[in-house]
Amino acid sequence: MRQCANDVHAYDPEDDWVYSEESRCVGCHRCVTLCPTHALTVRRTLLDFRSNANWTADRINSIYKQAETGGILLTGMGCDQAQPIYFDHLLLNASQVTNPSIDPLREPMELRTHIGRKPGRVELSENGDGVELTTQLSPQLTLETPIMFSAMSYGSISYNACLSLARAAKQSGIMYNTGEGGLHPSLYQYGPWTIAQVASGRFGVHPEYLETAAALEIKIGQGAKPGIGGHLPGEKVSADVSKTRMIPMGTDALSPAPHHDIYSIEDLRQLIYALKEATNYAKPVGVKIAAVHNVAPIASGIARAGADYIAIDGLRGGTGAAPTIIRNNVGIPIELAIASVDTRLREEGIRNEVSLIAAGSIRNSGDIVKIIALGADAVYIGTGALVALGCHLCQKCYTGKCNWGIATQDPYLTKRLNPNIGSRRLSNLIRAWSLEIKEMLGGMGVNAIESLRGNRDHLRAVGLSQVELDTLGVKGAGQP
């Protein structure tokens, strides 16, 4: 009763009984998890409409809600509809007889990944003792494992959640991303593990912010809501959030849909080089886009505009708040997007000029191995990281009443996330997935993640059409 921010439980002292108002329950399991006698459970309500495959309960209830309010329906987290998940149609290879598998417990296995532009050719000069690299390298981000925490802003998530991500990134030797919420001054110490985002609202962007981070990211789009801007409701703009974002307290933080200074690839190039100039060409500058229909030519343009990496966020990517209709219907799955972008950049001979980061519902280490084999350099995990922090995917992030202390600024709720526990759990997740990736690589007979990148021969597909196979560049299972 004390744990529920949705006021489901109420104690009646006259009856000496705790009553539940089931209609308010969001199914977050907070009460279930904390009940010391395991007396609680959350079940789907038994009341159902007459069975109809076309008019599902969701669709009917949405109409009731909209008929009542006349508004756009909002939601949180990633797409919950049964859109095809190509990861589940892809299978990995393993070595048998003709090539040896590798035991990662006994032999070295390299997961270290460098994000940034790679030179087309390398020039060496000989000096007295040996050789010296004369090619000037572009700035690189070094990751101990090809996993990063996706952009989640301070404001959409709590300070304790940000701190957990930052600490875990430091402990694991990877990066976390500020989102478009600016950077709280007390997190500057995690700068070497921070990617700072510059989004259309330019919230919290100032010279120190750019200086502190290890890399900069221009956010064009987000997988959950391609083509539309962001909206942080005023209730979530607390004193600290307002200071960090540099906006008045209690006002809605509205990010415009487009960057009003970017209407073309040439404009994007100007912003990329403005940021590089501002930071003395010492940091990689990336661009994040949503996976949309013509993602391959767009990515090619971004690479040519001078970006050091491109982050692509797929259809199933998460969000703190987005219109339900956009989240469920706009964009394309990340697997197809990465495969087509990788193919296009290779065809144009510029794949080395840019790193690819895949985002949009990476659920386990198997998904990571598959997307890297399809052509990604590394992945962003957002929802997965929040689940490690306790998220139960109730999809109510937009209400600011997160019972797990993640997507909220309510002081009663934010303290529920202890960053000591949070960072430990995140580090554990990264460690566990890295170990699993090594096992899978070893099984394939590969001893470095570099050797897997874009190596689609390690993948076979089941149950896909020829068009899908062609886009993915993967053979059907059973084909040698």
């Binding site: 004390r2 904390l34 010391p36 002081p411 303290k415 529920r416 000591n420």
Partner: protein, 154 residues
């Protein structure tokens, strides 16, 4: 000595510490029995204090210079040689409540439902970790060796 540290920043006022403390000090040590069947019902030896979003679990600090030890006329209040914990021998306690009067933390309670005696934290004598610490879901309570700074948390 090892003490319970209170990190009020992360106390979520769920009061699971109170529940598990009560169960630990009940006869059956079973949660349903302790609440539903045992009479008199056992008492929790700690109390969650709340004001607005701020909350913390208050239990005996096991002071080095314990006022309750000085004030106790029967010698019921004593220090455990081995652990350094301040314990109350409830057989010796006569319920004069002097310890309650002098405790600067208000950490001792009157037990008047059961035997009339001072009721206080015994650090779950015999347990490696007190149950309130073991069951705190947010690590707001930690059981750590005292450091000179007085803060054992990381």
């Amino acid at each position: 000595m090892k003490r319970i540290h209170v990190n009020e920043e992360y106390c979520i006022a769920c009061r699971l510490c109170e529940i598990h403390c009560l169960v630990q000090h009940s006869q059956s040590r079973k949660i349903i029995k302790a609440f539903k069947e045992e009479a008199p019902r056992a008492m929790a030896r700690l109390l969650v204090e709340e004001q607005g979003p701020l909350s913390f679990a208050m239990q005996c600090r096991h002071c080095e210079e314990a006022a309750c030890l000085e004030a106790c006329m029967t010698g019921a209040m004593h220090r455990d040689e081995e652990t350094g914990a301040v314990l109350c021998d409830e057989d010796k306690c006569v319920g004069c409540w002097m310890c309650i009067m002098v405790c600067p933390f208000g950490a001792i309670q009157r037990n008047i439902v059961g035997r009339r005696a001072a009721s206080k934290c015994d650090l779950c004598y015999g347990n490696e970790v007190p149950v309130c610490v073991a069951h705190c879901p947010n690590e707001a309570l930690t059981f750590v060796e005292d450091t000179p700074s007085g803060n054992g948390s990381a």
